[in-house]
Symmetry: C2
Subunit: 335 residues, 2 copies
């Protein structure tokens, strides 16, 4: 059975486009609190699981050894826009470990945020690996290798000791077996492992609650999630969904997007986490879906509920500022 | 019944995202030669019908009065990237009618093509209405008004005489009744009318063949389609799908994309036209769908078939140039 339509894009009085998808809300013990569509299907988390991938940075002691605070940890979990502050902080993280941009194996790209790209075009000849949206994560990877005395060369490879540590942590969190059969290569060249959507949500619920985790992993998980909630600008950037969603309820919402329409989130005080996937991989729909799902866990009439509902139902204006239609969630998400 | 999945996006050995949609291939007499999904559903053609909207420019005599050749007519049918040549030609069209950028009511925006945006950021403080992807169409609109002695002010409005002429032409071509009930506002502020996908394909088949049209409309239709095929760069731009598709078989393929996953095309020598819509509005899928549908009408083993099939099945490489997956059409489109 196909997944339900969860987001509609209107123009005038008609629906112009439709997005289907699946949503899993799970608690720390793996109980499903809410779901739509097939939550057993395998999904590549892509960048949505960067906080999981950052666990070795904290657990190895590297973060403490290099004096990393919330900003650095948030950047290690980020898909940033390549704004000047992001780029400078990634360079600073590398320098604490005595390394520089040459150590990064993520590749270089211009910002995908228009305002930032215009600024980059006017100030740079071309972008470096520090401008890559994954440079904070990769700087964290290099720091782990340096701190552990492992050669960082080839750290993006499936068989490199760092990726083995990441794979172990993700297996522990999601309960899924991660091997070559479910492995793809991510945009920044590291392995990405497809896991059932429900298992992804459960993994984040374990991070948010500590349930089922050893004390060190529970502490590291909590520290990473709190760092992201404390420094949402360093998780994404100006005007970006992850940043805006976490700013709506400071310290209460954690969230992180991934390519191809994935979004993960957690509400630690309620002991739940969310994982969702838009079938067609579209960002506008995944953003509406996560805002509407989060809104279900905030009081109706409260300002957080209103702000989340507004992000789940955005009006679209054209080049002259005329209202032409809306991106809105369907009743499946709101009832 | 939902529309079939027509495009899959893979990563590693798994399918990561899926796009469903509908396709209509119709001849000049309205006979359906091939279809997938619901082709009776209303679809906003958006920019895919710009060649229809350019008919008054030719039929009124404005194009001849102002000395417009293939390049100007192609630009009047275009969604261009805002490259320097596009911007200069739009300005030149307006100057022939004694007007300038101030006459345009489409609004301004930066290029959505990354390479062009970087160039614009380095050479412009901000874009003008000439950089709007619709500036060629709007320059043509202003020229019609000037030639006909109509005040061009408010030419984007539903009740303006120009939009009435366009509505009449589109009703004649598609056979659909176009009124407020199916009207939305396009990105450039003009009305866009939802019509059944089959009717949209039939309209383009009539333009390509002249079937069912009066001699003047048949001649003007042919002239616009031939202008686009002769000057594909002016219909879109460097590296853009419309331009590349028409370059594959010069003078044999006409095509034009529209926002929200619409694509129209015609193969005049075979007397058929195509209209298709990706349900979720995604460009990558609409491009794959139109390339695969066009390929059905070219000989297997020939270079056109091979080039179209290559555009319908593109490999995706990451920032380091590593092959990570593919955008590929499903058997529904190729069998």
């Amino acid at each position: 059975m196909p997944n339900p339509v969860l987001v509609e894009v209107t123009r005038g009085s008609l629906v112009e486009s439709r997005h289907s998808g699946s949503v899993a809300v799970v608690d720390g013990d793996g109980r499903v609190a809410f779901s739509l569509g097939n939550i057993e299907a395998n999904v590549f988390p892509r960048s949505a699981c960067k906080a999981m991938q950052a666990l070795p940075l904290v657990e190895s002691g590297a973060a403490d050894a290099y004096g990393f605070g919330d900003k650095e940890l948030a950047l290690a979990c980020s898909s940033h826009s390549g704004e000047d502050e992001h780029v400078a902080l990634a360079a600073s993280m590398l320098s604490r470990a005595g390394r520089d941009v040459e150590a990064l194996e993520c590749g270089a790209h211009w910002s995908s945020d228009q305002r930032t790209l215009i600024h980059q075009a006017r100030t740079l000849e071309k972008p470096t690996a520090l401008h890559n949206n994954c440079s904070g994560k990769h700087s964290g990877f290099v720091c782990v290798c340096c701190h552990q005395g492992i050669d960082s060369k080839g750290y993006v490879g499936y068989d490199h000791p760092l990726q083995q540590q990441i794979r172990d942590a993700m297996e522990n969190l999601t309960g899924a077996a991660l091997g070559h059969d479910v492995c793809g290569t991510d945009g920044c060249s590291i392995p990405t492992y497809a896991v059932p959507l429900k298992a992804l949500a459960h993994g984040f619920a374990k991070m948010a609650t500590g349930h089922g985790l050893g004390p060190e992993r529970a502490k590291a998980s909590r520290r990473l999630i709190e760092a992201c909630m404390a420094e949402p600008f360093y998780v994404a950037g100006t005007g970006r969904a992850c940043t805006e969603l976490m700013q709506i309820a400071p310290g209460r919402i954690f969230c992180k997007t991934g390519a191809e329409g994935v979004f993960c989130a957690a509400i630690p005080e309620q002991g739940i986490a969310i994982a969702l996937k838009c079938d067609d991989g579209t960002t506008r729909a995944a953003e509406a879906m996560v805002a509407a799902t989060l809104a279900r866990y905030f009081e109706k009439g409260g300002k957080e509920h209103a702000a989340l509902t507004a992000l789940a139902n955005k009006s679209m204006r054209n080049w002259n500022g005329i209202h032409v239609g809306d991106v809105r969630v369907t009743a499946a998400l709101t009832e």
